[in-house]
């Protein structure tokens, strides 16, 4: 048996100048959305929130993925771990992009209206949590924690590239254990803050898990598409192999089911108990045209991926897996839109151009930052002790 060898180039080619174009697209998108601010600032903030929570979910999913790989001492994922590591490494920059939302709190969150709170005993009860100051403090805490974790996991992994010190594995694992603990709590509260508190009367104990399940399913779709992008540019074609795509496909399938389980649990329990305060949330989202969005993502991120990915064969066919990944990501965006937008347009669904431009804008920045970071170091953790086994996967 021959020892595994890396035959690909491991440096991101400098002539592949994707960062500039992505930042360009991002800037144009954000500028266009910025113009929208002067036309309809409420719409601006809601659209921005949809896009922001979309890309944040990818970064959060990445952070979770990296920590889990370290904790489970995963071998299979070593060749592709640098991709999620990079996604979660720049939270400290990405966190700056929440600032517009902080300026838009008055548009987004009903509970910031002092007159509304004064007239509403339920909102008064929530005031110790739902108030502007504490909201801002929490955002700082979330992003500080995520930045610390993401950056540390990334920089220590990169350090291992250079020093070949396998003891760093232990350090990474020790960061990941407590990291996961605090990650779970902050993610849940972040989802309450960003999305659940848009309807300040409504509550659901599973909501944090729900946002996490959406994010983690979306992450696998992103990973698969990033790998295909690299393959298309003739990068890592012998390092990340079909068997890795198969494993990612398996996980994408698994977390598709997990997502459906969580989303359905929330829906069924609220539907069945039929308490007006709770069902009204679904009622708004299942009427006025929003029901079509619900049907779309039901099929797009559960039924179709489930049926296609269930058999063994399709999970290693790049075209099939890639199409399913795109479908899942589109559905992910649609679902976030469906969660957020009925608060603004509760009379019925109508698509606003700002949602698209803010998505393109933040997407350009988010992916631009990704490639900017990605090309700074090796695309594979070359001195990882698990790399040999990962390369040897069949």
């Amino acid at each position: 048996m021959s020892k595994p060898k890396i035959t690909d180039t491991l440096d991101f080619p400098s002539d592949l100048n994707i960062t500039k174009s992505l930042f360009g697209v991002g800037t144009v998108g954000l500028l266009a959305t910025g113009v929208g601010y002067f036309l309809d600032h409420d719409q601006f903030f809601f659209s921005y929130l949809v896009s922001f929570s979309f890309f944040s979910s990818i970064a959060l999913g990445s952070l979770f993925f990296v920590m889990v790989q370290h904790l489970t001492r995963s071998e299979w994922s070593a060749v592709l771990r640098r991709i999620p590591e990079t996604f979660s490494s720049y939270f400290w920059i990405w966190g700056l992009f929440i600032i517009p939302l902080l300026f838009g709190m008055h548009s987004l969150y009903h509970w910031t209206h002092a007159d509304a709170v004064a007239a509403d005993p339920v909102l008064q009860g929530k005031e110790p949590y739902l108030n502007t100051t504490f909201f801002i403090i929490r955002q700082v805490i979330y992003f500080a924690l995520w930045s610390f974790l993401g950056y540390r996991l990334y920089s220590k992994s990169v350090e291992m590239d250079e020093t070949g010190d396998w003891g760093l594995q232990t350090l990474l694992r020790r960061t990941s254990g407590p990291g996961l603990f605090f990650f779970a709590i902050t993610l849940a509260f972040a989802s309450f803050d960003w999305i659940m508190s848009l309807d300040p009367h409504w509550y659901s104990t599973i909501f944090g898990v729900y946002y996490f399940a959406m994010s983690f399913q979306g992450l696998f779709a992103v990973l698969i598409l990033v790998i295909f992008f690299l393959w298309n540019n003739n990068l890592l074609t012998n390092t990340i192999q079909k068997s890795h795509i198969y494993d990612l496909g398996v996980q994408m399938f698994g977390f598709t089911v997990f997502y459906a389980y969580i989303a359905f649990s929330q829906f069924l329990l609220i539907y069945y108990a039929n308490i007006p305060e709770e069902t009204v949330w679904y009622l708004e989202r299942l009427s006025g045209g929003y029901e079509y969005l619900a049907w779309f993502y039901l099929f797009g991120r559960f039924v179709i991926p489930f049926v296609i990915l269930l058999p063994k064969g399709p999970k290693s066919k790049p075209k099939v897996v890639g199409s399913v990944a795109v479908l899942i990501l589109v559905s992910h965006l649609v679902e976030l839109y469906w969660l957020v937008m009925p608060v603004l347009n509760h009379h019925g669904f109508h698509l606003n151009w700002m949602t698209i431009t803010s998505f393109i804008g933040l997407g350009g920045i988010f992916l631009g930052l990704f490639f900017y970071k990605f090309k700074q170091n090796k695309m594979v953790p070359i001195n990882d002790p698990k790399l040999g086994d990962s390369l040897n996967k069949h």
Binding site: T170, A184, P385
Partner: protein, 477 residues
Amino acid sequence: MSTDYQYVPEPALVKGDHSFGSITDLIAKTPLSPTPKLWYLAFGLANILLITLLGAIGYLIWDGIGIWGLNNPAGWGWAIINFVWWVGIGHAGTLISAILFLFRQGWRTAINRFAEAMTIFAVMCAGIFPAIHVGRIWVIYWVFPIPNQMAAWPNFSSPLLWDVFAVSTYFTVSLLFWYVGLIPDFATLRDKTKSKVAKITYGIASLGWTGSFRNWWNYEKAYMILAGLATPLVLSVHTIVSFDFAVSVIPGWHSTIFPPYFVAGAIYSGFAMVLTLMLIARKIYGLEDIMNIDIMEKMNLVMMITGNLVAFAYLMEGFIAWYSGYIYEQGIFWLYVVGPYAWGFWILMFCNVVTPQFLWFKKIRRNVAITFVISIIVNIGMWFERFMISVASLSTDFMPSAWDYYSPTFWDIITYIGTFGLFFTFFLLFLRFMPMVAIAEVKGVMPQADPHNYDEETNEFDIEKTKPVVVQQEQTV
């Protein structure tokens, strides 16, 4: 900084200097040797408890559920708590055998057979309670949708009925899964035994297994399919158990996080029970090489994670109860903490929130005595969790004038204790007559099973080749 840390390579799953032959001998020894005296003693004790259970059930049928401590607000008491507790324990077996199989976790082979047996007997214990708690047990067949002259059908929109389907399907698939895994090992025992009766019995049980390629091919397929089926089933069972509570409008019960939270809690308690049993069995049967400290540590990690998931769910529930602004929801949580059942709440917090935090320390995870204690504390904690949910939520409901304190009676207690008799009767029979470790599967995770560990020329097993290979970086641009 990094020099403070040592890289620890993945240790071998089976300790000691074992070959395939010595593994077979080690595991087949117990069912093939004469019955030890200690076994009779244990079996006798279990039988006494089993008879106690049968007596308690007999009296229940004779006299009705009035013999239990149920009262007007608390219509669900120990019967439901015990049902959920036992079903929950069963979940670890399926997690280990099916879900860890799908995740290709080799370490599961040390404990999967053992845990699956536990699952089956635990589900049997659980199944008793919903059946007997209906009062008129002679019409329990009404839970099945059987065509009848009265045209009376069960209520299909009730999670209690879904439970009937979920638990019975789960039991059937778990049994099949367990049995399929046993077939090659039964054949091993058939081939090794000297007794004629045993040869015929194991021979029939092994379904004519010859160990041919075709046999193994079919076996692997069947095992894979059953693992795939068991995985959604195990999640569905405790999800539906959680629906029993969560679809209602009772404060403390109606919480959307219940399904995943119940599943996590079930796995948490199940791993604790596997650990309790495993730590005793490995000692008595000398299986320390297979059920070794590394396996125990991994199980402790699963317990730590699921324990923290449960703690996370408590946090979400507590926070949202306050955040909801709904006075009854806020009220019931406040009453958990300071109300008539506050003692139960603090036991629960200690067992389920504080205890798993000890498992952050590697030294504790690798300490047999402490792990044993923790595993028992966890099981107590998970019983109290169901106690708090069922009893504490019901007995202090919407109207303070209707509140009543629930206490169990003698019959509640001995029925519960009696189920241990049922459980251990079967479990001891399993330990005595069946291979308690999956012989064929353990061999599959030993270094000898890897064709790369053989010398290409002499075709002999080379222990040197099992050592981890340092990757050489050769880059060509």
